[in-house]
Symmetry: C2
Subunit: 351 residues, 2 copies
């Protein structure tokens, strides 16, 4: 029987902070590029179309001695049963022995690694002097996108938030987001006062709801889309030269957040080519023939490793299609397990 750790969301919140997750996600992308990590085919099942589905994303990071999977289920009617609609579980195993190492609640990991991905897209592809961030979507992912972007971009002066369905919800998001950001920064308060102070300064900027998405998109240096949209929200003609767009919402067939024409004449990067063209933001433009597989400049790992140039000029429009890959979850989960062992957090049993 093998030692096996079980970590719930509270355990994970105790351990995880965004700065580390950014490092871990960059590492996951890099290992993939170095062929020390790979994705296994995704499994997707709809229990009831539009009402309930689940997917299993799995993969291995031999470069980090782990493999495993994340199973995410979405049951739209759960809130009426007092349950979250999205429930995720991450299972991590040792890639040298096949032994299961632990199982972790997946929701917080997902939010954090998705936030990190959006930020990393900006870090490697946006103009260093970017000042205006437009966040499209005002849901659960929002605060994590903002935090990660502020951590990696030094010059953000203003954030606007757009909700395609409700201005009120965007306003409500803007009213509450700073408290959320303060909470997410708590881990640094004691351990790294300098970084904490720096971040507190960075979030001390106006965050306001966008009433006119056209104007907001025109002014933006960085656009992050984090919605479940199935119709493009951002039109090509609004996007100015020099803009970077991180798309983190699309993760299944049919989802689309930005104009497919934005994949024509722009520098497109993805986390995984195969996922991008099958379930990512790249899917629709790929299927409509706006972009071919060769039209994708590279997976972001190659930019992180300095093998491929991200932005070539200040006039480029860059796109990062973050579909969300199992390697992000697995490397983050593996880090959490190590920390949990060191700090004796969670429950250890024999499996």
């Amino acid at each position: 029987m093998l030692p096996f750790r079980v970590l719930n969301q509270e355990n994970i919140k105790e351990i995880l902070d965004m700065r580390n997750v950014i490092t871990l996600v960059e590492q996951a992308y890099s290992l993939k590029e170095q062929k020390e990590a790979s994705l296994f085919p995704m499994v997707f099942h709809e229990f009831e179309p539009g009402k309930a589905d689940m997917d299993i994303k799995s993969g291995e990071l031999s470069g980090a001695n782990i493999f495993g999977l994340k199973l995410v289920s979405w049951f739209g009617e759960n809130p009426s049963k007092n349950l979250p609609s999205v429930i995720g579980t991450v299972l991590v195993l040792d890639s040298r022995t096949g032994a299961p190492l632990g199982i972790l609640s997946g929701e917080y990991i997902t939010m954090m690694r998705t936030g990190a991905a959006g930020g990393i897209g900006a870090k490697y592809l946006a103009r260093k002097d970017s000042e205006e961030l437009l966040l499209v979507g005002s849901g659960h992912l929002g605060p994590y996108q903002i935090l990660a972007t502020l951590m990696v971009m030094e010059n953000i002066k203003r954030i606007t938030v757009y909700n395609a369905n409700s201005l009120d919800r965007a306003k409500e998001f803007c009213r509450s987001v700073k408290d959320k950001l303060f909470t997410l920064l708590e881990p640094y308060k004691e351990h790294d006062q300098a970084f904490y102070n720096q971040m507190i300064q960075r979030i001390d900027i106006p965050i306001s709801a966008a009433e006119d998405i056209k104007q907001a998109a025109k002014k933006a240096d960085i656009i992050i889309t984090a919605t479940p949209a199935r119709k493009p929200i951002i039109k090509k003609e609004w996007v100015q030269p020099g803009t970077h767009i991180s798309c983190v919402g699309a993760d299944m067939e049919g989802k689309q957040e930005i104009d497919e024409q934005l994949f024509d004449g722009t520098r497109v990067f993805v986390d995984d080519v195969n996922q991008a063209i099958t379930v990512g933001e790249t899917e629709i433009p790929y299927k409509k023939g706006v972009i071919s597989e060769n039209g994708i400049v590279a997976e972001l790992g190659s930019v992180i490793l300095g093998e491929v140039q991200g932005r070539v000029s200040d006039q480029d429009i860059t796109v990062f299609d973050s579909t969300g890959i199992s390697l992000q979850d697995l490397l983050t989960a593996s880090y959490i397990l190590e920390q949990a062992e060191e700090k004796q957090i969670g429950f250890v049993t024999k499996l």
Copy 2:
């Protein structure tokens, strides 16, 4: 946070008995036939060809309100590290909410449900008057195959066991198997004395090593193959009219235990058509054109439900290709979780 149960192998041994597993596996096959259960695509990865691999078999049994997966890894060099070479983990979730219900050690479940499958093949396809059982393979699966078959077949008078590589190992198996069977029958000793006595009588028959596989196959009424073979062990010309063969060993590309010609002119049943022709015993004959998809009579669930006739005459040779499907593991695991809750076994945490 949701209640979540962790059950290790010892917990599971405390709960599981073969009679129940036979019922559960029949139920799993039936639910599949009734479209109240389905398999998701299998994920397979080789870490190092011939040395280490893993697969993820998943599926849903909406008819039993569950879904989930079993991840099995095989690391051939583990024994030198004092670890088992095969390690399995079963994750069960609620198909009405997506909530994870528990995680279970998978090895014992696998042995039991695989034994049940071999026996169920005989129960529905072998002649009722079958007396001679030939077990090909003398590994870990063996005792479970024998026990299940003896539970469902009343007239077995003799068992022979063949090991293609070592007569000594077959002899050693025969020397020790009855003790193992007694252990597996323990659960009934207190709770169902009549059944226990009946089974003790049934196992009180000669179990001996087969020196000559040709003669053993010719005499057999039921043949069960439970090996990792990649070359056929049983030749077609040895198999007499009226024989039933359950093949439980083949579960990945390239494995083969019986002559592919045994798929010509026989009544072939499978647990799942797609798995059978891609990774089961049916794979090689299918790829060689000996049998087509239409040549498979049916999935066994349809025989259990009485929709399709199994054996038509006493002269038929019948074949059951048990590839091993996730539904067997999941329904068994779900039963274990229910029992564990009732008996307060295992560890409960919040995920």
